[in-house]
Symmetry: C2
Subunit: 328 residues, 2 copies
């Protein structure tokens, strides 16, 4: 196991040095300080090779994604990410692989000033568990449970491309190279909506990040908030790559049930709608209103202003695409 | 994956409800509050089946041990454990196994008022990663780097039994049932020295928990503190089970190089020696002085007041028994 000892230097080369990290890598624990009037948000996500990313995924993409999916959870709370702990299990020590993995992980950490404060390296089948933490003003955080009947339903970015990329990896059917590149990039390098989440903290009534699929994650908001929702299928934001390569029906299916988008799905009251739109679009964010919450406790879908039955399933059906189950 | 959805209820049945947990299991992140004048310590440890515990280990022992090894790191900092996040990867959902795992994990959590605030459940080869956090008064924590030449070296409890149990599992040679039971219990149910750690915060100059082996972990203190040490082999505390079943030389080898003890190894100045001994022994703790730090930057060993050369290796040799490498 001596070679595993050598791994450490890969993780100590990060550039981020936060003032609130009193003791970083190199002891039994890291020590961090938090100021008064702040809450700390904590999330943990595991990525298993062949389950959460295809076996051929590049080390850089795995590094990026492992950090991104955790920062996406922090973003959904409206918090500012601060520290991560990394537990990585590797079948063998491969310096090139590790260098690439770190470059993918640290690029994102540096962008958001997130410091790696510790972790553990073990030998075994490839899997990565990251615990990410973030800070938010006391009592100011988004959750899944604040949506009210009448609130508007929004989504950031475009939905479904990652699912299309996964489909293409399983059963190749895309022909245009730029389409393949575009959707592959969405699958491999999801962008956690960290800044949007922090802006939304002032406006949104509920938020979640889309990991299991738009419908499944909307189901989580509905369940936690004790409301229902109608989704306007014509309004779902689809990428050019999706529109060029897929018929509308397939696009909508991928968008509704695909998952791996790591966009934010959030609700906002009528009163906060204009303020939210102004604040987010001023910052250059792409957001789309895709429906409205109601008191039905079910999810319905409409197309061309008419109800369509295909998607109106109960909450219990929403978990079909789940690859893991958050205990949080 | 629907059955994985059902796992969640196992983890939501914990009894601990801390006031500083504003949002527990059930959202994108947990939310905790910390008061001013406190630091937060953070550690992450992974246990992989067949690497960190034998494949036949009971689910209850695995649950206990996964929590214990993390609380042991918190103890080594002198902090009070507060919250844990659990990432568990399971080959299949087995209700009996999960119930036993949780009973082992939660028993320890309840004893120390530690709340499970979230995590992730995935399908794959059995492995458990826990991130544990703890609280300590601002700036008051133990580290590996405070030992000074002249400080006394102490260890809690008795050393080597877990290594003896592992040896017996690999090559059965123990014959007495009560010996087997006793050392097996030490391997399966290590006791994190949480209360001792908190008391030591006021007295010790450096501390570490013994996971890699007494010599290896002493090496970490020496390296971080830029000092050396002499270990008095006759003073090493051995259990009755060890003394009854093993010749002295083998006992000492197991104690020095075995690991998995999760006892605290710490240093204390001459000035603090009596105060520390009084405080700890008043609380019923078993501690033993096993040597003294010096300026040599190497580790030496003595027996019957005479130097013995066998163990005086350099720091680079200390990692031979490592099963994982803490990035922290």
């Amino acid at each position: 196991m001596k070679e595993f000892e050598l791994i450490k230097h890969f993780f100590t080369e990060q550039a981020v040095k936060r003032k609130d990290v009193l003791l970083g890598i190199g002891d039994d624990c890291a020590v961090v300080s938090s100021t008064e009037n702040q809450n700390i948000v904590v999330t943990t996500d595991t990525l298993v090779a062949g389950v959460h990313f295809p076996l051929g995924t590049s080390a850089k993409a795995i590094g990026h994604k492992a950090v991104a999916v955790n920062l996406s959870d922090i973003a959904a709370m409206g918090a500012k990410p601060s520290w991560i702990s990394l537990a990585i299990t590797l079948p063998e020590v491969d310096d090139d692989w590790l260098a690439e993995f770190c470059s993918g992980a640290f690029e994102l950490c540096e962008f958001y000033n997130v410091q790696l404060i510790g972790g553990d390296t073990t030998q075994g089948p490839l899997s990565i568990t990251i615990t990410a933490q973030g800070l938010t003003p006391e009592g100011k955080y988004l959750s899944r449970s604040g949506a009210k009947s009448g609130d508007w339903l929004y989504v950031t970015g475009e939905i479904g491309d990652a699912a299309l990329a996964l489909l293409h990896i399983k059963e190749p059917m895309l022909t245009e190279n730029d389409v393949i590149e575009q959707v592959q990039k969405k699958l491999d390098y999801p962008k956690p909506r960290v800044l949007m989440g922090q802006t939304l903290r002032e406006y949104a009534s509920a938020a979640i990040d889309i990991s299991d699929g738009l419908l499944a994650d909307l189901g989580h908001i509905c369940q936690a908030s004790n409301v229902g929702a109608n989704v306007v299928l014509d309004a779902i934001p689809l990428s050019d790559a999706m529109k060029r390569s897929q018929p509308f029906d397939d696009s909508v299916q991928l968008a509704l049930n695909g998952g791996d988008d790591y966009e934010l799905l959030f609700t906002v009251s009528e009163d906060n709608k204009v303020g939210m739109e102004t604040a987010l679009t001023h910052a250059g964010a792409v957001i789309t209103c895709i429906g409205q919450m109601n008191a039905s406790q079910t999810i319905s879908t409409t197309l061309n202003n008419k109800p369509v039955p295909i998607i109106s399933t109960g909450f219990q059906h929403f978990s079909s695409n789940k690859k893991h189950v958050k205990i949080t």
